[in-house]
């Protein structure tokens, strides 16, 4: 007999739909207004804090729904946004600076669903409100910095080898070393080549040896700059207390930062944009500062003003950069003078102890470096940055320093606090610039969801009604497929960790609803044709499904290819759209071909049918 279901096929179809439905379920439960407490630098959140939180809230008469402790964070669920605001204010006051109290929307997924790993779809910023930044890393600065490192490295190395040079200069992306005679140049070249495998050395006229980075090394520098910046941005975002931030590399030199729920863009930008670092350098005591001020800056030194506008003559060679700082906090010494205590990583500690060993009794300067956009642009249209350097303290090295030491000479406790914060957050290896910023207010986000849902519902009703009238009993089958299709899209979107629902994504779902019936229309029209040609109902069903199959495959595979390319090439809204489109194509093929066949077989198959209601 034709059109009989095999057991495994029915099981498969039911199982897949049920699975998707289960994972789509959390989306129905909505979200709670919540306050999230996470640890700052010097504290940890423990379960024992729960009672303190509860007391604080109770004494302020704030009703809570639930207080949970998970992954080193406390989540307080509240009745409404008013209670949420009040709770945050009070908790912030009660817990102090060591904790970050952030407003959050927490999914109200029941425990048993959470245990299954089910969670609602992630909503894009256009649907939930928040800030999106696209930042560009200034690569020329990162490369310039590496060149400077190479420059000072050459000086030291050549000096140690007793190879006398006339000058070492950084110029247009390479380092030029000028020698006195051919012989020294040759031996220096041999020596440096062996020492620096990732540099390309070429001999120039006038006894100049030129060193430039190889392509691989340049790529490495760029990758490192982006990676380093991402780490630092992450640290800084943590200071903001954002619930679920996203910080991601995009393209070769860009970083995406998304802060859901943040409305205060000015503050967010201030913190993210603080491109500052520290350098520790020795003061030059061999030469006279006054000569330098009059324009005779000795080679290997640099004039930098201190806070009072007084120029200081520093050695160009940097003893240590801020990159090695792993922690910094502010305190006061026994006389009440503010200071910043700094801890270094092991490499930094080694550098510091090597640098200070022979210099006990000598003054060391702490240089604060900040990059500011000048507003001008380079020829490639990128923004130019200006390097602002300032000596913030000069202190005499009392003893050989190790991996922890302190900076004194700060004006106020506030200055100490700001400096500690910046140092903690880490130093950006290269300046970054916001090239794109999108802020969506929370009400607009909610409105977008509502409008999108409305469109989906109206569209769905129209299509359901049409299919029912047009195909009668088979229309019902197609409608079941369409409804399952929608549930499956939502379920799969919820299951895929990286998938985010955006406004264009919602539009993609709407479009899928419209197009999803296509496969069924193709099949049903074929069945009708077969019936007109005088086949029996059973044969018509069989033939209809059979001959429509390759058409459906071809049509969907080509569309899928198009969607896949969009996903690969596109960004932002285009990616969001292509994800839902791809999922929609896959699910609509499953529901239209397999699911409807199972239902059709169950209803009409395996028995004598005189007439089909199609």
């Amino acid at each position: 007999m034709l059109n009989k279901n095999s057991v495994w096929k029915v099981l498969l179809a039911v199982l897949i739909v049920a699975m998707c439905a289960l994972y789509a379920l959390p989306n129905l439960y909505g979200e709670d207004n919540a306050v999230q407490i996470s640890a700052g630098r010097n504290a940890t959140v423990t379960e024992s804090m729960l009672s303190q939180v509860r007391e604080t809230l109770d004494s302020n008469e704030i009703d809570t729904k639930r207080i949970e402790f998970e992954d080193g964070q406390i989540l307080v669920r509240l009745k409404d946004s008013e209670a949420q605001l009040k709770a945050r204010e009070n908790l912030e006051r009660a817990l102090g600076d060591d904790y970050v109290v952030a407003m959050n929307l927490a999914a109200d997924t029941p425990q048993w669903l959470e245990d299954l790993g089910a969670s609602p779809m992630k909503l894009g910023l256009d649907l939930r409100g928040g800030v999106h930044f696209l930042m560009e890393v200034d690569m020329s600065e990162a490369i310039a910095k590496s060149l400077e490192d190479a420059e000072s490295d050459f000086r030291t190395a050549l000096r140690e080898e007793n190879l006398r040079y006339r000058a070492v200069n950084v110029r247009d992306g390479h380092v030029d070393i000028k020698f006195r005679d051919e012989e020294t140049l040759e031996s220096a070249q041999f020596f440096l080549r062996n020492r620096n495998r990732d540099l390309l050395f070429t001999e120039q006229d006038n006894l100049v040896l030129r060193a430039a980075f190889s392509e691989d090394k340049l790529k490495e520098i760029r990758d490192y700059a982006v990676k380093q910046n991402i780490t630092i941005l992450r640290n800084r975002v943590n200071q903001l207390g954002v619930a679920e931030p996203l910080i991601q590399k995009q393209g070769a030199d860009r970083i995406v930062v998304q802060l859901p729920g943040v409305q205060d863009t000015a503050r967010a930008k201030e913190i993210l944009n603080a491109t500052a670092t520290l350098e520790f350098r020795l003061l030059d005591r061999e030469h006279d500062v006054r000569d330098a001020i009059n324009g005779r800056v000795p080679p290997g030194t640099q004039l930098i003003n201190d806070k009072n506008g007084q120029p200081q003559l520093l050695e160009k060679q940097v003893m240590l950069t801020g990159n090695h700082i792993i922690d910094a906090n502010n305190s006061v010494d026994e006389y009440g003078i503010p200071q910043v205590n700094i801890s270094l990583d092991s490499e930094g500690g080694n550098k510091m102890s090597r640098g200070t060993r022979g210099n006990i009794g000598n003054p060391m300067a702490t240089v604060f470096i900040e990059y500011k956009a000048t507003g001008e642009k380079t020829e490639e249209g990128k923004l130019k940055f200006e390097k602002h350097e300032e000596v913030i303290s000069v202190a005499t090295i009392q003893a050989q320093l190790g991996s922890s030491f302190r900076i004194t000479g700060l004006d106020s406790p506030k200055e100490a606090r700001d400096l500690a914060l910046l140092l903690r957050a880490g130093a950006l290896i290269a300046p970054i610039q916001i090239v794109e910023e999108r802020t969506v207010g929370p009400s607009l986000g909610a409105e977008n969801i509502e409008l999108g849902m409305q469109a989906i519902i109206y569209g769905l009703i129209a299509v359901l009604a049409f299919m029912l009238i047009y195909y009668k009993a088979f229309g019902i089958v197609a409608n079941i497929a369409l409804a399952s299709n929608l549930v499956m899209i939502v379920g799969i979107m919820s299951m895929i960790p990286g998938a985010t629902l955006t406004l264009p994504g919602m539009a993609g779902i709407v479009l899928t609803v419209g197009m999803a019936v296509d496969a069924n229309v193709l099949i049903f029209e074929r069945i009708r044709e077969e019936l007109r040609d005088g086949r029996s109902p059973q044969q018509a069903i069989h033939q209809g499904y059979d001959s429509a199959f390759s058409t459906i495959m071809d049509a969907n595979i080509t569309t899928f290819i198009a969607a896949l390319i969009l996903f690969a090439v596109g960004t932002g809204p285009i990616k969001g759209f292509s994800i839902t489109l791809m999922i929609g194509i896959a699910t609509s093929m499953f529901t239209a071909i397999l699911l409807t066949r199972v239902i059709v077989n169950a209803v009409w198959g395996g028995r004598r049918v005189k007439k089909l209601a199609i």
Binding site: T265, A266, A373, G375, K377, G381, I434, V435, E436, E437, R438, T439, V440, G441, L444, L451, Q454, A455, G459, A462, V463, F466, I469, Y470, L503, A507, G508, V510, L511, G514, M515, V517, D518, V521, E525, E529, F549, S550, T551, M553, D554, A555, I557, T558, T559, I561, A562, A563, I565, L566, V569, G570, T571, G572, P573, I574, F577, S578, L581, R597
Partner: protein, 313 residues
């Protein structure tokens, strides 16, 4: 119920020349408008700042303009967006100023007049980002078309591949032309819509081509012309129904989806209708014009039709 009762084959191809001329005229019009008017590029492509604010009463646009003039935003474009309470303000990218701050400045300027202003969204896009995006979008479309060309050429035949790709290019150009003529803002969501039009139109074209191929193999006698007509007639009901359901949901999106998605819905509505037309006239006309014949479509001796795809039961 049947939408259209077709008792005999409709001679679609009789109108082939007329439709080709019509398409050619529309294409020339679109290209001309794109050349002259260009597209009304949105913020995503041009860069600049866009601020959407909401008032609790109908907004006084001229007052907003005055306020902005006084705060150094002479070039600001102020217009209603979706409703009389919502206002959209656009500011072209400018040199030198910290553009990322403009949004906050505008909102505080508007608030200083004492009105209750709600910040709905602020978007700032640097000029470089837009340029890259235009390149990327164009590239995405070209790569998509190329891959489709290859797939269809492999699965079907090169004449069909050229036919369907010309149909796609036709639809994309006409949709862009419409946006250029009506000067509707072309932003990222519209680009997504144009790409969706490619997907839809492709789906439609492949269904028609599939039937033409099947009939070439099945019907022993008959001119290519007739076979194309038969195929188009057979698929006509399906073509119309699918377009209809898609248009139904797009209408829902157009009327209910909100102002942000208007451009998207417009592009798709137009694209679906044009896509339906092009799969009938452009794709098959091109394949016919290139001289598609029975011999080209006969399956190779060993391989059976659809043998590379196992039919699902």
């Amino acid at each position: 119920m049947r939408l259209i009762k077709v008792s005999e084959t409709i001679n679609f191809m009789k109108l082939r020349t007329v439709m080709m001329v019509l398409s050619a005229v529309l294409l020339i019009g679109s290209v001309a408008s794109l050349a002259v008017n260009s597209l009304n590029w949105g913020l995503d492509f041009t860069g600049g700042t866009l601020i959407e604010v909401g008032y609790d009463k109908p907004a006084n646009l001229s007052q907003i303009r005055t306020t902005l003039n006084e705060t150094d935003f002479e070039d600001a474009v102020v217009q209603n967006f979706g409703s009389s309470e919502a206002v959209l303000i656009r500011i072209a990218p400018r040199e030198g100023v910290k553009s990322a701050q403009i949004g906050n400045q505008v909102v505080s300027a508007l608030r200083s007049t004492g009105d209750n202003v709600e910040m709905r969204r602020i978007e700032f896009v640097g000029p470089n980002v837009g340029e890259e995006l235009t390149e990327q979008g164009g590239l995405a479309m070209l790569v998509a078309l190329l891959c489709i060309l290859v797939y269809v050429a492999m699965r079907f035949e090169w004449r069909f591949a050229l036919g369907s790709v010309s149909a796609l290019a036709h639809d994309v150009l006409l949709t862009l032309g419409l946006f250029s003529i009506l000067q509707i803002e072309f932003d990222l969501t519209v680009l997504a819509a144009v790409l969706a039009v490619i997907g839809y139109s492709l789906n439609d074209t492949i269904v028609v081509c599939d039937r033409i191929r099947e009939n070439f193999r099945k019907i022993r006698k008959g001119e290519p012309n007739e076979i194309v007509n038969i195929s188009l007639t057979q698929t006509l009901n399906r073509t119309i129904i699918t377009s209809l359901t898609t248009v139904l949901v797009l209408l829902a999106l157009f009327y209910k989806g909100g102002a942000l998605i208007h451009g998207f819905a417009t592009a798709l509505l137009f694209g679906v209708i044009i896509g339906t037309y092009s799969s009938i006239y452009v794709a098959s006309s091109v394949a016919l014009a290139l001289g598609i014949s029975k011999e080209d479509l006969m399956p190779p001796q060993v391989e059976k039709e659809g043998a590379d795809l196992d039919p699902m039961p």
